[in-house]
Symmetry: none
Subunit: 224 residues, 2 copies
DNA sequence: TCGATACTTTCAAGATGATGACGGGAGCCG
DNA sequence: CGGCTCCCGTCATCATCTTGAAAGTATCGA
């Protein structure tokens, strides 16, 4: 979660609420600062002030959309202006949603959740139920047929991603990007190992067969 | 893969690793030399040293971005300077990623792979339905009359191609080009074998007759 | 019937995935 | 501080599956 906002008061407001909602938050005071941060690791979502010193928010958004690496970053605009044309311009420049100041903390988190649900389901706190498994991100618990399952951190994220994107095949590379993060460089084989560990854990309730190997392609999480 | 780098040691390091990773590598000691090479054939990607004799790396990058023919060439910067401003300027001038010296071979190839991956055109994930068969690239599943069919990697690609181009006859040579990729040298008879394997797989639901032999010409996938 | 063309079967080499083990690092506890 | 545990990424090895080619058989068309 990256918040690009120059007014300290607003920044603080957003910070408190996002942290409270369980998100990790990074800040930038300007577009330039934001770029620096983005060059490191990619956040899951960007909250962007429309009015920034130096570079306008929508120009920055367009820039993000123009670069391959940041093209798919969800963006939420925060703006004080409410005219229709701004809304239009905002959405045209690639925003996923926008908030008009003043906004309630609840509205902020609600919109973030909505955007994430649409763009990256595995980043929300929603409980996922599928194939006889129930995964609860908020409590970090997984239950299979009533019994709790014991997963390590990585296995949990991997399972969460799979359960949020069932049936679809993912290559090892895609999984590394999605589950480990975009600027992480690991051996593809590492995925195999974690798949194994996840299967081991799931086998406690016989759910290990939900994870299918698609030879030559990757892995797939079977729906029920 | 074009590497623009004036230091022989670094050049050698990069060369060894890229070759080992299976890439063909060309070199240039300066921007001018690089231009000469680019006037010939376009590489898939350019690894560019930030500090070059004569012309600075970022100026060269901008130049590449300005010309239509080289606009879409992925560029990875190699730099010894680590200041934030350099990272910014580098990416602003159109780099897709950058490496800071010293870097590990693994990191180099990983970033190259990542950049190429991002540039690669999205494989069409559209579901293809025809002749009672349903092929879904996203899930990598094929279903005939409700029953799932089991195909190997090559058979899957072959079927995908056929279903995407029904009713048209393809020679063995064309199929080799389209399904295996041009520049592979295989016996034409090998196609027969894979056709057989595909028919075998399809016969599980009686769809094997969708693939017709056109004697003296090749094969054709029948619509329904 | 004959020659050309296609179909099948078989096989070894090469890919690819599964598995068990290892060493290191982060964090925790005493 | 140590010592310990947990978890992670990597590797070597083993088991399996795919693949391409070869060779024998079947079929087609003239």
């Amino acid at each position: 979660m990256l918040v690009v906002e120059d007014e300290p008061a607003i920044r603080e407001l957003i910070a408190v609420n996002l942290r409270h909602a369980g998100y990790g938050v990074a800040f930038a005071r300007s577009a330039e600062e934001a770029e620096t941060i983005l060059n490191g690791a990619l956040p899951d979502l960007v909250v962007l002030d429309w009015m920034l010193p130096g570079q306008a928010g929508d120009a920055f958004a367009r820039k993000l959309r123009a670069q391959a690496r940041t093209r798919d970053l969800p963006i939420i605009f925060v703006t004080a202006r409410v005219e229709e044309r701004d809304k239009l311009a905002g959405l045209e420049s690639g925003a996923d949603d926008y908030l008009t100041k003043p906004f309630s903390p609840r509205e902020l988190t609600a919109r973030i959740k909505a955007v994430l649900r649409r763009r990256a389901p595995q980043l929300t706190d929603d409980v996922v139920r599928i194939g006889g498994l129930e995964l609860n991100p908020a409590t970090r618990r997984v239950i299979g047929e009533g019994k709790p399952l014991d997963l390590g951190p990585t296995e949990f994220r991997l399972l969460h991603f799979f359960m949020s994107h069932p049936e679809r095949v993912y290559s090892r590379t895609q999984l590394l990007d999605e589950v480990w993060g975009d600027h992480v460089f690991l051996e593809e084989r590492t995925v195999d190992v974690h798949i194994r560990r996840l299967r081991m854990a799931l086998s406690a309730t016989g759910h290990d067969d939900l994870i299918e190997t698609v030879r030559g392609t990757g892995y797939r999480f079977r729906r029920g």
